[in-house]
Structures are given as structure tokens and as C-alpha cells.
């Protein structure tokens, strides 16, 4: 019964931890001092949220928060692949931050009715903090979208690169059916993904940004554009419909090559001093 709860919480926590780690890589390196502060602070929020999710897992399984965060093998993480991608350039980091925080807002809204009291309280708390992430991301999108052509072009390319990965944030959780049955999760991931695609399309339309990525379906016979605009491929075996691209599979433990260096860095202290008390 609690397995599906742990599955959902692990995915949510790992998203926040891994993206928080990526954001923290801008500390000292952002192109603007205020952004150095902003990305560092957002990283701190996300890692704090991860710790809060892990502590609920620990209270259910008797595990340890540090071990959950840093003591697992790469294949045991369940974050969406979007979160582990290299920061690349500033445009990609902004595009990912914007896509992720809108996705996170949609999924937290969906979790407001969870049957798990501690999770519901945490969601309510986190949503207040996450508002600042959205304000930040939206302000940058507007600024760059309405700015000089070079930045605007880079931003459009970055959104195009990150978009498919972002839809995979809504790849169903392992044991999602049971999680819904138990009431831990209220809104199925497929429905959340539709809400996300609609919301992003609406904002891009307002910003006057053309959505090249929806046309990519035309270039491959295996892919079709779903009614909601994202790429899907039909699996003839069991009739399941899944987005088909290489950013998919994170919820089942598939890791991209970029994860290795991140994991080495993120867990190095924990592995160097096993059992240390901080």
C-alpha cells in the first residue's frame, strides 16, 4: 500500500534534488550577479523541497534522508531526464527553469487533494514558495522574448530543445494506478501533461513565439502529433501511448549520459565519508 506512495514521492523528490543541483552549478558563474543570487536561492528551495519529500519517505520506510538523496546508484533515481541535462548555456537554463516550474506548479496543484495529510500540508507550503520561481522565470521569458533578435533566437532554440524532455515530467509514476486508487495522487499524469501542454502553448502564443517543436512530428513516420500537440508513439504490444523521444524513461530509472558526472559530483562527499554525521 505504501509502495506506490514511496514511488510517487521518490520521483518528485529526485526531480527537485537533481534540478536543484544543476541550478546550483550557476553559483559563481551566472552571467549577471543578481542571477547568481537567484539561481542559488532557487537551488536551495528545490533541494529543501527534495529533503522534505525524502523525510516523508523516511517516516514511512524508516530510511535516512541523506542516504535517500546521496546513497543510491544512478539507476535507482527516478527524476525526469530534463532535470539532469547539462546546464549548457544561459538560454537553455532559463528555458528549462521556465518549463520545469510551470510543470511543477501544475503538478502541485494536482496534488492539493492528496489523501496523505503530511504531503498535502507540504504541497500547500511549497506552492507559496514556488510562486517566486514562476515570477522569476516568467519575467525572464518576457524580457528575452521581447528583446533583441539574438537572445530571442537562442531562447526559441532552447525551448525547442527542452520541450520534449519537459513533457516527460508527466511520464506516469511507477505504480501510478495504485497511487490513484489509494488517493495519494488525484490527477493522472496524462491529464496533467495535457494541462501543461495547453498552458505552455498559451504563454508562448502570448509571447509571440512560434512553436517549431510541434512540427517535428512531421519529420518522423513513427511519431504522430496528439490532439494536445505533443509527440506520441503508439505501442502495438499493449496499446499504451507514450511520448517517444530520448528524454523519456526517467521515471523507470533510465539515465542519460549526462547523469554520470552530476552523480559523481553530487554524491562525492557522501561516498568519501560513509556514515558521517553532518
Amino acid at each position: 500500500m505504501s509502495d506506490s506512495l514511496v514511488s510517487v514521492l521518490t520521483a518528485l523528490a529526485d526531480d527537485e534534488l537533481i534540478l536543484g543541483h544543476r541550478h546550483s552549478e550557476w553559483t559563481g558563474f551566472a552571467p549577471h550577479i543578481e542571477e547568481d543570487v537567484a539561481f542559488s536561492s532557487i537551488a536551495q528551495d528545490e533541494i529543501g523541497h527534495a529533503a522534505a519529500y525524502y523525510s516523508i519517505i523516511a517516516s514511512v520506510t524508516g530510511g535516512n534522508v541523506d542516504r535517500l538523496a546521496f546513497g543510491r546508484e544512478p539507476s535507482e533515481y527516478r527524476n525526469a531526464i530534463l532535470c539532469e541535462r547539462d546546464n549548457d548555456d544561459w538560454a537553455y537554463s532559463l528555458a528549462r527553469h521556465w518549463l520545469y516550474d510551470h510543470a511543477d506548479a501544475i503538478r502541485l496543484e494536482g496534488l492539493e487533494g492528496t489523501a496523505h495529510d503530511q504531503l498535502r500540508a507540504l504541497v500547500n507550503k511549497m506552492r507559496r514558495e514556488e510562486r517566486y520561481h514562476l515570477i522569476h522565470a516568467d519575467a525572464w521569458m518576457k524580457r528575452v522574448a521581447h528583446g533583441p533578435i539574438e537572445g530571442r533566437t537562442k531562447l526559441i532554440d532552447a525551448i525547442t530543445n527542452a520541450y520534449d524532455d519537459a513533457t516527460a515530467l508527466f511520464e506516469p509514476f511507477e505504480l501510478e494506478e495504485d497511487a490513484i486508487k489509494q488517493g495519494w495522487v488525484v490527477v493522472p499524469s496524462d491529464e496533467l501533461r495535457r494541462r501543461f501542454v495547453d498552458r505552455i502553448a498559451g504563454i508562448l502564443d502570448e509571447l509571440g513565439i512560434p512553436m517549431h517543436f510541434h512540427k517535428r512530428a512531421d519529420t518522423s513516420a513513427e511519431f504522430v502529433a496528439s490532439s494536445s500537440g505533443d509527440l506520441i508513439a503508439s505501442d502495438g504490444q499493449n496499446g499504451q501511448v507514450e511520448p517517444a523521444h530520448d528524454g523519456f524513461g526517467g521515471r523507470r530509472g533510465r539515465r542519460s549520459p549526462e547523469f554520470g558526472a552530476l552523480w559523481d559530483d553530487m554524491t562525492s562527499m557522501y561516498r568519501a565519508h560513509p556514515g558521517a554525521s553532518w
Binding site: 523541497h49 507550503k125 506552492r127 507559496r128
Partner: protein, 165 residues
């Protein structure tokens, strides 16, 4: 005639437990104490962390435990952090707001409970140094999760505001 209980003494002790990041205000001024219960010699304190990712949570927990342990009649202290209800800036007392201002940190704007739909970056924060409203926001974030950066156009000082949540 009032009888001072051990619970009253615990509340008094908590008024001396300071926020480690803003040592001008106590955890009571900040509205972080949700509940105090004393059963025999066992004190239970429920506190609400201000921000989920606040690195000071463990320190505050320890400080509360140490402070309450000194209260006569208390032998054991259990401190429980909770997000239910969520801590919001509406919980900061009037005294707490005055102390924040004296500390050089602009108190959060807005009155009453801050609803999630109303949270935004206020256009104006009041400069804690000269009282001017002619200020601009330079950053929605700051040196800690709970602070935003502002600049006062009147007295030309940079300052920080406790972010309304």
C-alpha cells in the same frame, strides 16, 4: 488571580530563542511556534519553519530544545517541525515587524493572511532606513530563501525585505 503554569514558563523561554539568521527576533515574534503542551515533565513544542529549504531549521530545533530544557519542571523536550498549517508572513507579530525594521530588514508588506493567489512581488517595499516608498526591487531572491533585494531611490541604500509568503 492568575496561576503561572509550566506552559507559560515555556512560552517565556521561547521568547528568548532567537532566529539564528535574524538574531533580533525570537521564534515567538516570528510566529513560528504553533503549539506548546506540557505533560508532566515532558514539554512538546510544535514549530513551523518559515521556508521549507531554510538551512537553519535544525539549528532552530536545537535552540528551542536547549531553551525549553532550562525551564523549571521540564525534564524532557520534544520539538516537532510541521508544515501544517503553513507558516506565512502574516504570522509575524507587530512587535516582530518593528524589530525586523530596526534590524534593517524591511518587514513583509500586506496585511492579514496572504492568500496564494495574492502572492507576488510587491512593487513597493518601505525602506527600513528612511521610510521612503520610492524603492525598486532588484531581485526576487536574496542571501537567504526568505529575503528579496531592494534599492532605496531616496536615501540610496540597498536593503533587504522579508519576502511575503
Amino acid at each position: 488571580m492568575s496561576t503561572r503554569t509550566t506552559e507559560d514558563a515555556v512560552w517565556d523561554a521561547l521568547r528568548s530563542v532567537l532566529d539564528p539568521e535574524i538574531p533580533a527576533v525570537s521564534v515567538v515574534d516570528m510566529g513560528m511556534i504553533e503549539d506548546v503542551k506540557v505533560e508532566g515533565a515532558h514539554a512538546h513544542v510544535t514549530f513551523l519553519p518559515t521556508f521549507t529549504g531554510c538551512p537553519a531549521i535544525a539549528v532552530i530545533e536545537d535552540d528551542i530544545r536547549a531553551g525549553v530544557k532550562n525551564v523549571g519542571g521540564v525534564e524532557e523536550v520534544t520539538v516537532t517541525p510541521s508544515f501544517d498549517p503553513p507558516w506565512t508572513t502574516a504570522r509575524i507579530t507587530e512587535e516582530g515587524r518593528a524589530k525586523l525594521k530596526d534590524f534593517g530588514l524591511a518587514p513583509p508588506t500586506g496585511e492579514g493572511p496572504v492568500l496564494i493567489t495574492q502572492i507576488g512581488l510587491p512593487e513597493v517595499a518601505i525602506c527600513p532606513f528612511c521610510g521612503s516608498k520610492n524603492t525598486r526591487n532588484d531581485n526576487a531572491f536574496g542571501p537567504t530563501p526568505c529575503r528579496a533585494l531592494y534599492y532605496c531611490e531616496s536615501c540610496r541604500n540597498p536593503f533587504e525585505q522579508f519576502k511575503p509568503i
